[in-house]
């Protein structure tokens, strides 16, 4: 940088004014945006009454918890078996929930896709109802289903189905709308009706994409299935919340370790399957 003569530098600056001298307005916009963000953060601290004096105490206590967590230890073999069973429950919840959600969402997604059903009213209502379902968190669904079928993993499965129904409905309908419309037109020009066009022109195109989205969500649902136990809907979350409440930190870290291993195993498997299905295309 130093070997640059100053007039050469000046010449470069003069030649590319847009690079070296951004307008005052664009700078002011950045400054205003940043200070608004900081101001909102400070307002949040004041409004939420964040107790800073508790921060150092809390950190110390957290460090204590961490020391107590090591090494992870389930206590006994019987306990370890119980936790493995709970983990199996969690994976089952995620699997059946994803499957059920996908199966239920497919017909609704077809209704919500503009190139399948051209009716604006059907389109509008199916989209809005999917949005409403998506707006409710999975924990709230679990809470509702626990009231219907009682405590246990079945309520968790139903909760995952409900929350995935909204997500898949949206993702599927977007994938269907993005599909190439030429094959469907080809089927229709060869004498097929609209349904034939959807079945033979549209679905074969989008099916691999939908399948890979389902596999992707299977992994993320395993994560969410670990938490719905907190409201009593079965799985490993129930054990985790219990052990945290009774301060059995070694068991807590064992459970967290189990979750980490299970999630990365499923991530690996679903990644392999997705690769086999659609190749190295990114999942939207």
């Amino acid at each position: 940088m130093k070997s640059f003569s100053s007039d050469a530098q000046a010449a470069i600056v003069e030649r590319y004014p847009a690079v070296f001298r951004s307008g005052w307005w664009s700078r002011a916009k950045i400054t205003i945006g940043l200070s608004a963000a900081v101001a909102l953060f400070l307002f949040g601290i004041a409004q939420l009454d964040i107790p800073f004096h508790r921060l150092s105490d809390g950190m110390a206590r957290l460090g204590g918890f961490l020391r107590l967590m090591l090494p992870p230890d389930p206590g006994s073999w019987a306990e370890a078996l119980k936790y493995l069973n709970a983990l199996g429950e969690t994976v089952s919840i995620a699997f059946l929930g994803t499957l059920g959600g996908a199966l239920l969402a497919l017909p609704v997604a077809l209704l919500a896709a503009r190139n399948v059903v051209a009716n604006r009213i059907v389109h509008f209502f199916s989209r809005r109802s999917l949005d409403t379902i998506r707006g409710v968190d999975i924990l709230i669904w679990a809470l509702i289903w626990v009231g219907v079928v009682g405590l246990g993993p079945f309520a968790g499965i139903l909760a995952v189905i409900c929350s995935d129904f909204g997500t898949f409905g949206k993702l599927f309908s977007e994938a269907i709308e993005a599909a190439d419309k030429n094959p469907a037109e080809g089927v229709r020009s060869a004498g097929g009706n609209h349904l034939h066009g959807v079945r033979f022109g549209l679905l074969p195109q989008v099916f691999p994409i939908l399948l890979s989205q389902v596999l992707y969500y299977f992994e993320s649902n395993t994560r969410s299935a670990t938490i719905i136990g907190i409201v009593g809907a079965g799985g490993i979350g129930l054990q985790l919340a219990e052990q945290i409440r009774v301060l059995e930190w070694q068991k807590v870290s064992f459970l967290i370790l189990l979750i980490l291993i299970a999630v990365s195993a499923i991530d690996w498997i679903s990644g392999k399957l997705r690769f086999a299905i659609i190749g190295q295309r990114a999942v939207a």
Binding site: G58, S92, I244
Partner: protein
């Protein structure tokens, strides 16, 4: 087509015979066999896949205590629950009914504001941490395999442990209130955004980085002038998406005592204050939709700006 219709049948057959080249019988048979084999192989694969899926579903159903009988017997409770939480309106006193239904509106609005603030503060702090860590997790900027590996595992840990589990632990360490909620969301966001940011950084054009390195820039300068200008709009878009997700997450933080509207929701569910449940749920859904709408607008504008600039 029009002309061929006028032709007598034998002439038509003759013209078709000349138009379509005929394969010898053996070759035709071979092609047909190949086609049948390909279709059969595909069909076998589909059947095999379905069989595996069904077996897995049955195993999972056994594991997950699926009881369809109990489900059928109790399903009426699901619509009945929604019927019971629905507010009662009568035509003559609709206004009074409405104000009775939303009796807690000032309090709930405040709590919803708190929820949004928790999500905002968590997202912002998490995005800052993720921003710092993502450059350490990108193999194209950091030479040392160890640093990349360690940072990636750290991000993975933060991402995989659900935010509400962090909240459960933090509530014990920091006491009840919004602070554990903010921290839990911040840590989870660090993991989620750090990974997405790192993926963006690994896909950037390497020439600006090499240019800054060649003219003697330090690592910080390489990142600042070589990488950041390429990725900033993508980062903001991902952060906004994460904010959307965090608003939903913050709404249930109150379930474990970590502030926001979740506390009131779970209390009214547990105590069977039916009309309160529907009022709070409605407020949450409306807020989430509003936030989704706004962030989507902003994201489209950001991506549009990028497209215009390029």
């Amino acid at each position: 087509m029009g002309r061929s219709r006028d032709l007598p049948i034998p002439a038509l057959e003759k013209s078709m015979r000349t138009a379509v080249p005929e394969f010898p019988e053996a070759r035709l048979q071979e092609l047909a066999d190949r086609y049948a084999a390909a279709v059969a192989a595909k069909r076998r694969r589909v059947w095999l896949g379905s069989a595996v899926l069904i077996v897995a579903a049955l195993a999972a159903g056994w594991m997950g205590d699926v009881d369809l009988w109990k489900f059928a017997e109790n399903f009426w409770r699901f619509p009945a629950y929604f019927a019971s939480i629905a507010p009662t309106f009568s035509f003559s006193s609709a206004w009074n009914d409405l104000s009775e239904w939303l009796w807690g509106l000032p309090r709930w609005t405040l709590l919803l504001g708190d929820t949004l603030l928790i999500a905002y503060m968590g997202t912002l702090s998490g995005a800052i941490c993720g921003f710092v860590l993502c450059f350490l997790a990108s193999a194209n900027l950091v030479r040392s395999r160890t640093i990349v590996f360690v940072t990636r595992r750290l991000l993975e840990f933060c991402r995989t442990v659900p935010d509400i589990v962090f909240a459960l632990i933090f509530v014990l360490a920091f006491g009840l209130g919004p602070l554990p909620g903010v921290l839990a969301i911040a840590i989870h966001t660090t993991g989620a955004l750090g990974k997405q940011f790192a993926e963006v950084v690994e896909n950037i054009d390497n020439k600006p980085i090499e240019g800054v390195a060649a003219s003697g820039g330090s690592w910080i300068q390489i990142v600042r002038f070589g990488a950041v200008p390429q990725v900033l709009s993508n980062f903001v878009s991902y952060a906004l998406l994460r904010f959307e997700i965090n608003v939903r997450g913050a709404a249930v933080m109150g379930f474990v005592g970590a502030g926001g509207i979740g506390q009131d929701l779970i209390e009214s569910v547990r105590k069977f204050y039916y009309s309160d449940v529907s009022a709070i749920l409605l407020l949450i859904i409306v807020t989430v939709m509003l936030i989704d709408f706004i962030t989507e607008r902003v994201r489209h504008r950001l991506l549009g700006l990028e497209g215009a600039g390029a």
